[in-house]
Amino acid sequence: MNTIKIITKAVADELDIDPIEVTAEADLREDLNIDSLVLLELLLGVEDELGVRFSKNDFKNVNTINDIAELVEKRKDQSLAPEEY
């Protein structure tokens, strides 16, 4: 599964809806009504699944699934194996 699909599935699971209903451009907070703590939880799941590590402030610049995917690419260089966290 590619990055966008993995993130979309995580968002859909959180919202309890079909991934087809989630677009990569939707604003997570405004359109999908995801609050900041739930967004942090989502990012934690993405980190875990994709083996990347975000910085504490990364979430502030994240508004859409596309943003998360870009962040994953950006942080891939710094990726750690999950057991090293």
Binding site: E14, L15, L37, V38, L40, E41, L44, Y85
Partner: protein, 405 residues
């Protein structure tokens, strides 16, 4: 002084998640204890518990709404919705600024604490969920219910170990009679059938460790060997009498007395004097004497010490002709911080239906427990019912309910 009445009730219990089922199981003495299902007990000496069957949450909530709630919060939200529906309250009937929520728990999100700590030790601090804290804090039941029902008045989660639920109902009574709020959604919730909880209580040697369901939770029986862990939630709509009458509400019973005390002598051992003081204070508050009490819904945990001390306190305060006594815990185990609230529901049902509920599976009289035990369901002429709850820490809370006619 205002008066406080009960106009709605909801439960999530091992004996059922709606009032009629709960009533039938409880008053027929159908013991709801079984082998522990949701965790591997092979390393544990404890094998039995009184477990809740998942409520039909979808009646009230989208799956997403409950996703980040601890089990005890989910129980409370469901029971509160049931109680609210049962009360017949609708949008035009109440002023949210004058309505509150007091929902107790003894421990809160035990399961979330265990899981997050396991994650912390296995994966490190950065892998602990940002939703861990707001999922498990004890006051999250009262907070979520306030959001669900739009109640902006008094709010909180009294903590007094196994007396917590009774304290919540009692404090609701005080707020109503003093004119602070017009309605309080009051009760308790607990979900403590978890590894750490069972290990901790087991280490205290207070749990029954056999496999014989019919001899597991037998309050006041001479063969009792400890309590059985239960789980669940009980919620009552405590409403100012004038408010209830004005909207034509169905009234189950009145709360007319509340007495609390602290043993102030031991953290874990019950004390006869402290228990007597709480019962006396409740009777004084209700302005009745001990002869007026027609039934006592005992704390009755099925531990040797609790039942002996409670029975002796009852015998001393009420004399040789003590009112009939039974313990709800014989049927649904000990639901800790929910117990006082679920037992309030049981006491109110006793008054409303004019029936006494049995102390299930009671068969061996104990000379050290000189009280009149109800052994099977029977009709009663009940005017006043006393409900007892005591907690570790020496906190005692007693409630007096009065028949509504």
């Amino acid at each position: 002084m205002f008066r406080a009445v009960i106009t709605g009730m909801g439960v999530v219990t091992p004996a059922g998640n709606e009032i009629d089922t709960f009533y039938n199981n409880l008053f027929n003495g159908n013991c709801c204890i079984s082998l522990i299902e949701n965790l591997d007990t092979s390393d544990f000496s404890v094998k039995l518990a009184a477990q809740v069957k998942e409520p039909e949450y979808e009646q009230y909530f989208a799956k997403r709404e409950l996703k980040h709630n601890a089990r005890f919060v989910r129980f409370a939200r469901f029971a509160a919705k049931e109680a609210w529906k049962d009360s017949g309250l609708n949008h035009d009937d109440f002023d949210g600024d004058l309505c509150g929520v007091l929902l107790a728990s003894s421990i809160g999100g035990f399961e979330e604490i265990e899981k997050s700590y396991t994650r912390l030790t296995a994966r490190g601090p950065s892998m602990v969920s940002p939703l861990f804290i707001p999922s498990m804090l004890i006051n999250m039941a009262s907070s979520n219910v306030a959001i669900d029902l739009g109640l902006r008045g008094s709010n909180g989660a009294p903590v007094a170990a196994c007396a917590s639920g009774a304290v919540a109902v009692g404090e609701a009574y005080l707020r109503i009679v003093n004119g602070i709020d017009e309605i309080i959604v009051a009760g308790g919730s607990e979900a403590s059938i978890t590894p750490l909880s069972l290990a901790g209580f087991s280490a205290m040697t207070v749990l029954y460790e056999g496999k014989d369901i019919s001899r597991a939770s037998i309050p006041f029986d001479s063969a009792r060997k400890g309590f059985v862990m239960g789980e669940g939630s009980g919620v009552l709509i405590v409403e100012e009498l004038g408010h209830a009458l004005k909207r034509g509400a169905r009234i189950y019973a009145e709360i007319c007395g509340y007495g609390v005390s602290c043993d102030a002598c031991s953290i874990t051992a019950p004390d006869k004097e402290g228990i007597m003081l709480a019962m006396k204070r409740a009777l004084t508050c209700a302005e009745i004497d001990s002869k007026s009490v027609d039934y006592i819904n005992a704390h009755g945990t099925s531990t040797q010490v609790n039942d002996r001390v409670e029975a002796q306190a009852i015998a001393e305060l009420f004399g040789n002709n003590s009112p009939p006594v039974s313990s709800t815990k014989s049927i649904i185990g000990h639901t800790l911080g929910a117990a006082g609230a679920i037992e309030s529901v049981a006491s109110v049902l006793a008054l409303y239906k004019q029936k006494l509920l049995p102390n299930a599976n009671y068969c061996m009289y104990d000379d050290n427990c000189p009280v009149n035990i109800v052994t099977e369901q029977r009709a009663g002429n009940l005017e006043y019912v006393l409900s007892n709850s005591f907690g570790f820490g020496g906190q005692n809370a007693c409630l007096v309910f009065k028949r509504w006619t």
